[in-house]
Subunit: 144 residues, 2 copies
């Protein structure tokens, strides 16, 4: 399991740090999207109340870019670029995980208090999903 | 205190519902931003670990639009349009509170597990803030 300080990631995926400001009124993190991510945010979604043992994701997107942030709690994220992969623990709002298109991703070990926020570059499109890992590898030019 | 089903809000503020999908893997809410909010999201920030009794906000924005979502936990939001105001309890990711420019807003009673997500239309600009409530009312054409 990589920590958020290990920044070597497969195929253009990367961790991004949001600027954090603490004072007597609590904590605030902020991200100016233009400098943070190479896409415009056109859709958001949040995943929460995930039962212990459940996993989510298990697909890649053909065109959609995403930024994942554990707005609360923590979650394990498996990032698979085809030729290499890594596992990342996302914990707390100050760290985002940028996933370019054509990255296979599986989330698991959601803490019971986890809300995973995802910023996405495209409206929902069922045709943008690749659900078959062998097909994903073939599209990446990787022989199994 | 209004509930999220009371939709009468001051001066263009409104509650928006994100589409929720539950299954054995937990809950997901999704918002296609084009249909949800009348601005492009250029900045995000998250507020969390707010001590009991602390409040945040207490200002208006001249030009910046915002969407507030309690990604986890709950928070009270006071919305003041100048000529009318209301109080809203935000609880859970499926409800957003859209605030147009020139809306005075104060958040309080953050639950200890609350992460308040804010989508904003503009990059940070200190000059966009109005910190004086009397000045805000004067700009809205309201006599105290």
């Amino acid at each position: 399991m990589m920590t958020v300080d290990d920044v070597a990631m497969p195929d253009g995926a990367r961790l991004v740090r949001l600027q954090r400001k603490d004072d007597a009124r609590g904590s605030l993190v902020v991200g100016e999207l233009t400098g943070l991510i190479p896409f415009k945010c056109r859709r958001i979604f949040m995943i929460y109340d995930v039962p212990a043992g459940a996993s989510r994701g298990g697909h890649a997107h053909r065109a959609c870019h995403q930024l994942l942030i554990a707005a609360s709690g923590r979650v394990h994220v498996h990032v698979d670029g085809g030729t290499s992969c890594c596992d990342v623990l996302l914990e707390g709002p100050e760290t985002g995980l940028y996933l370019p298109p054509m990255t296979w991703c599986v989330q698991s070990h959601y803490s019971s208090d986890c809300t995973l926020l995802v910023l996405a570059s495209h409206p929902y499109d069922a045709g943008d999903y690749i659900h078959d890992h062998a097909e994903f590898l073939a599209m990446k030019g990787v022989r199994e």
